[in-house]
């Protein structure tokens, strides 16, 4: 399957991927509304997180592992592996907010939703034309989606 691979050697830490992520997952699909309103009102937050240390930075999110620890740990069946697409899919309705996935994922790819007992996790923008918004928005091709 095609996954998103971050390259720390060319990442410039601009956080544009995070903005693209919240826009893609917003109601309005508008960056300014997503940032100024939906973040506060609905707790909209990015699945992607830029990690920085001095001059080095890298944008990380769910790796959609072949054998995900989060699926093993999920007590509600909200996290499952889709055998057809290979994605690690999250069903928000089923989630009870027990944080087992957050504990089990060694990649730190799962966050708590700021307002609800739910998690925030990358869905690879499965329903977005043109694929993941973060990859499309990256100005320095530090994010690539490809088969490896």
């Amino acid at each position: 399957m095609k996954r998103v691979y971050p390259n720390k050697d060319v990442c410039i830490g601009c956080h544009i991927c995070e903005l693209a992520c919240i826009t893609a997952h917003s109601q309005s699909k508008d960056l300014i509304l997503a940032y100024t309103q939906e973040r506060g009102q609905t707790g909209l937050s990015s699945c992607k997180h830029v990690h920085e240390e001095g001059p080095v930075c890298v944008a990380l999110s769910c790796r959609h592992c072949d054998e995900p620890s989060c699926v093993a740990a999920c007590i509600s069946g909200a996290l499952q592996k889709d055998p057809e697409t290979g994605r690690t899919v999250y069903n928000r309705e089923k989630c009870v907010g027990c944080w087992s996935c957050l504990m089990a994922c060694p990649y730190g790819a799962i966050s708590r939703h700021p307002l609800e007992q739910k998690i925030v996790k990358c869905d690879l923008c499965y329903d977005r034309q043109g694929g993941p918004a973060c990859v499309a928005a990256c100005p320095n091709k530090a994010l690539k989606q490809e088969e490896r």
Binding site: V56, R63, A73, S76, C98, A104, G108, E146
Partner: protein, 429 residues
């Protein structure tokens, strides 16, 4: 190829998914003792508390068994295994032939020999049936006593309290959650429960359950002489492997069913996984029964793929629990209570009682081997990485982890690259 799976908990689900990763066609038969497709067993506390309805209990979708080519035999108990003839006999009188057999029969509640423990009004709160009965009862009963201050006991107490039942917890140990948590974490959780009005008593337990002439429970006499009037008693001391079937079949059983790195038992083509299995532990390298959810799924998955011929070893279990008490989240992973005075371990703990936060890191031989987080749990998985990948942490790096928390730049560069940005495969370039 016919796979027979005895048991229908999360290990069984893991096994189905492990088998299907490598064998799309083989026949899978699942024997389920309970009358329902696999459900999230820990969800019964959410169900009893009224936080979720019954429609949210199933672990997988309605079409799951059909889609995966699984014949699910509900309400069916395996009564015998013949490892020579390779058959399983059921209580329905069937004899089912297997090529590969998985025993994932889970645990059974341990019931201590207290006077009066046998009879009506006693619940273990480990099955959906118990949760359903307690929901029906909750409007009629006033008081409950929970024996055992472990995870199941505390969640049962919280859920009953949410249903308006007045609850008292008694725990023999000097603190609650003595298994996966330390004293300080246990105290923070205990305080949260006390604050909402759940009575928590440590260092004391039930001496006798007293019953009236009608057989119904009247109350519990404690070891300190007190008498607690109550209508129901939840016994939540722990679970023990449900290994009788394997033992009778002549399969090697120690504390649980003994399995090798492929999850294979001493009998040919028979595997075991989950709470019934005594499998290898990642940190100690010993064979242990660690009855926790993620281990059960992982063992199920690993046994499934090995039954299907993949020959990939199980990576070993890691104790981990994530659980919230009235909104106070807690996580505990790995070795969190090293033997007192053992100089091989180094502990760094920070407690803020005001903010209800606690963090404890346990190191051994320059590696993180365990941690506890209360309140602020957001970096949980990032700590787990250091344990799971046994990353060396020395000098400045260790100080950074202790002072600033886990960060991906502390990973060894090779592991970082391999994980996040591996070289593209030759044909993909």
């Amino acid at each position: 190829m016919t796979y027979v799976i005895i048991g229908n908990g999360v290990a069984s689900i893991g096994a189905i998914e492990g088998i299907r990763r490598y064998d799309a066609k083989g026949k899978i038969v699942v024997l389920a003792q309970e009358d329902t497709p696999a459900y999230g067993r820990p969800l019964i506390s959410y169900f009893l508390a009224g936080k979720i309805g019954p429609e949210r209990l199933p672990l997988r979708g309605d079409d799951y068994y059909v889609k995966n080519g699984v014949e699910l035999k509900l309400g069916t108990t395996a009564t015998a295994v013949d490892t020579a003839k390779k058959t399983v006999t059921t209580d329905k009188g069937d004899s089912i032939k297997y090529d590969r057999l998985l025993i994932c029969t889970g645990g059974v509640p341990f019931v201590p020999p207290i006077t009066g423990v046998k009879g009506p009004d006693i619940y273990s709160f480990t099955t959906l049936a118990h949760a359903k009965t307690l929901i029906e009862l909750s409007s009629k009963i006033k008081r409950a006593v929970v024996i055992g201050g472990g995870l199941i006991g505390l969640k049962a107490a919280e859920s009953l309290h949410d249903r308006g039942v007045s609850v008292t917890i008694v725990e023999l140990a000097p603190r609650i959650l003595s298994g996966g948590f330390d004293e300080k974490a246990g105290k923070l959780a205990g305080n949260r429960l006390k604050k909402v009005g759940i009575d928590v008593n440590c260092g004391v337990t039930a001496k006798e359950i007293q019953r009236g002439k009608d057989e119904h429970v009247k109350g519990v006499l404690l070891t300190d002489g007190r008498f607690l009037e109550c209508d129901v008693v939840v016994v939540a001391i722990g679970v023990v492997p449900n290994s009788a079937l394997a033992k009778e079949a002549g399969i090697k059983v120690e504390r649980g069913i003994f399995v090798d790195e492929k999850l294979a038992t001493s009998a040919k083509d028979v595997y075991a996984a989950g709470d019934v299995a005594q499998a290898i532990d990642m940190l100690s390298g010993e064979h242990r029964v660690v009855p926790i959810w993620p281990n059960a799924y992982n063992q199920g998955f690993a046994s499934g793929r090995n039954m299907a011929g993949a020959k990939q070893p199980y990576q070993g279990g890691l104790p981990m629990n994530s659980i919230s008490f009235y909104g106070l989240p807690t996580i505990s992973v790995g070795t969190v209570n090293p033997p007192e005075g053992d100089k091989n371990f180094e502990i760094h703990a920070q407690l803020d009682e005001e903010k209800e936060t606690y963090r404890k890191l346990v190191f051994r031989d320059g590696r993180l081997v365990g941690y506890v987080l209360v309140g602020d749990i957001d970096k949980g998985g990032m700590y787990t990485a250091f344990i799971k990948f046994a990353m060396p942490l020395a000098g400045e790096d260790k100080d950074k982890l202790i002072n600033a928390g886990p960060e991906v730049f502390l990973w060894p560069p090779e592991l970082f690259n391999e994980t996040w940005n591996p070289e593209p495969a030759a044909d993909a370039r």
